[in-house]
């Protein structure tokens, strides 16, 4: 490949969340065109976006079409912080800078208060730490929704039981990408007592019907009894019969009859004041009969390196990944020489 050329291009239909583009040979510049916004019936949508090496990571430039009809003027501006192009290299540290949490509510879907939600959109994953009052949530990764700009966000997955107290302080970091290899283990926030146990996980699982997972529920603690209740399910392997990765649902249904098991509880903050392990789902293989019966890929459980070099496009009215159902074109290139002084 010679330099100074366009190296990759593509198109996608936006789903309202951020979009990762894999550009293996890396890039020096990228342009994004939101075709839906260009032919928009709604005014003031970002139509054309540009980023090149040397610009602030997470930003870029946007051309906004001001009116709702053809030939309306365009207005050039800088994309808001964390709402543009973010360089990705999944071999690096996935975490953004630590941000202070000022409070969190004591409900099964805690609302977390913070002075900055920069870079947080619905579906973002945050890692919580140093949660004063909610020590049981520290160390967990959670997908979030219901973002109120620079005010709060909500932990999307429902806990089996409320944390036990409100938090008065803490920290979060945005986790920009998943661990490298699929299928990944996931932390459990709830398990129902049912003929087919429904497991809620803190981050959408990405599992497929037919895959098999082992349920790990710590059976002992320093207090001598389990912090999680449903010890009977510990170590059992179940076949996945349904997956719902919809944000705030995030469930995996297993062919394990948990109806007679002890109720699952999420450890209280008091229990988490001493160290404890987490309940988790661990992928272990696939039930080929179920996969065939459900017309699923027999190799969906294959260990897959999903690492990438590329860019994350943020979603929103003035962001390159646009809004749900927008048709978006992009083109990326490499320069012969980059001279950023």
């Amino acid at each position: 490949m010679s330099y100074g050329t366009i190296i990759q291009q593509g198109r996608f239909t936006a789903d309202g969340s951020s979009k990762n583009l894999s550009i293996r040979s890396d890039f020096d510049w990228i342009k994004v065109y939101n075709e839906t916004a260009i032919i928009q019936a709604v005014a003031n949508l970002g139509a054309e976006f540009y980023f090149q090496r040397g610009m602030t990571n997470g930003r870029g430039m946007v051309n906004t079409k001001l009116g709702a009809v053809a030939n309306d003027p365009m207005s050039l501006g800088q994309i808001a912080a964390s709402s543009g192009f973010t360089l990705l290299d999944t071999s690096g540290n996935p975490l953004s800078a630590s941000v202070a949490i000022t409070a969190a509510t004591d409900v099964v879907r805690p609302i977390v208060s913070t002075g900055s939600t920069a870079g947080v959109v619905a579906g973002s994953i945050v890692r919580l730490s140093s949660m004063t009052g909610q020590e049981d949530l520290s160390g967990y990764d959670f997908a979030v929704d219901t973002i109120v700009t620079d005010t709060s966000f909500r932990l999307a997955a429902a806990l089996a039981t409320a944390p036990g107290a409100a938090a008065t302080a803490g920290n979060y970091r945005v986790v920009n990408f998943d661990p490298l290899f699929y299928p990944r283990h996931r932390f459990i926030t709830n398990i129902t007592q049912a003929a087919n146990a429904v497991v809620t996980v803190s981050v959408p699982s990405g599992y497929k019907v037919g895959q098999e997972v082992r349920v790990v529920v710590p059976t002992t603690s320093q207090a001598g009894t389990s912090d999680f209740g449903m010890v009977e399910i510990n170590g059992l392997v179940g076949t996945v019969t349904a997956v719902d990765d919809t944000l705030a649902t995030q469930t995996v249904t297993l062919d394990i009859d948990s109806s007679a098991f002890t109720a699952f509880t999420f450890p209280t903050a008091a229990k988490a004041a001493v160290a404890l392990s987490k309940a988790m789902l661990v992928p272990v293989g696939i039930d080929t009969a179920t996969a065939i019966a459900q017309s699923q890929d027999l190799l969906s459980d294959a260990t897959d390196n999903q690492g990438l070099i590329g860019v994350k496009l943020a979603a929103g009215n003035l962001a390159p990944a646009g809004n749900a159902n927008d048709v978006i074109y992009w083109v990326a290139g490499k320069s012969f020489s980059v001279d950023n002084q």
Binding site: S129, M131, G139, H185, R214, A275, V282, V284, T303, G307
Partner: protein, 205 residues
């Protein structure tokens, strides 16, 4: 970095990342540093060993018999514990830790071996796994992969195992000005039995 070292370290890093992504985890909980997970302790090692034994996992190494040598101690048969060199100091503080220099027989010591605790022999590497800012207090968490025989494997595709390729200058053009050297491989690390590997997570003491 030397290219040959890069080749082998890249293979190791891929295996490391696979284990960190997919293996089951258990936190060290018996330490006293006030974090979750805590620092590594003998009790945490014993819990993992008990779980591996309960899964009929086979050990890698047989024991080293005691000998009448001053300052040495017999070493138990063992599983491997793969960890970061950052843990070298913490390991020395673990009750029952035997540094490899105290093994009765030095010809049984492995290249990267730091020592033994109970039925785990610790192999340390500068590219050992750690998860950034993942403890309750926001500290880095170290992943200690406790593995038994045949717990995981690296699957190489036919004809695509690691190749180290050197091309002398004569291949570069009529003026023979440039040589090239590089490597390529295609392989997939994969857990074979999830019950035979456990990620024992800890923080520093």
């Amino acid at each position: 970095m030397r290219l040959g070292v890069s080749l082998r370290q890249t293979e190791d890093e891929l295996t490391r990342n696979m284990l960190a992504s997919t293996a089951s985890q258990v936190n060290c909980v018996n330490g006293t540093n006030g974090d979750n997970p805590t620092e590594l302790t003998k009790e945490d090692v014993d819990e993992v060993v008990k779980a591996l034994l309960g899964a009929d996992a086979h050990m890698f190494l047989s024991g080293i018999s005691g000998e009448d040598k001053f300052g040495t101690a017999p070493v138990r048969n063992a599983y491997f514990a793969l960890a970061s060199t950052d843990l070298s100091g913490s390991l020395s503080n673990v009750a029952g830790f035997i540094h490899q220099s105290q093994y009765p027989s030095q010809d049984k010591v492995l290249d990267s071996e730091w020592g033994a605790v109970g039925n785990l022999r610790f192999l340390l590497s500068s590219i050992g796994s750690k998860t950034a800012s993942s403890s309750a207090n926001g500290n880095d968490v170290y992943n200690v992969f406790c593995v038994a025989k045949e717990a995981y494997a690296c699957v190489e595709q036919d004809g695509a195992s690691a190749q180290f390729i050197y091309r002398p200058a004569v291949y570069s053009g009529p003026l023979a000005q440039n040589v090239t050297i590089g490597y390529k491989f295609a392989e997939v690390p994969r857990i074979l039995n999830d019950a035979w590997v456990s990620n024992l997570r800890c923080t520093l003491s």
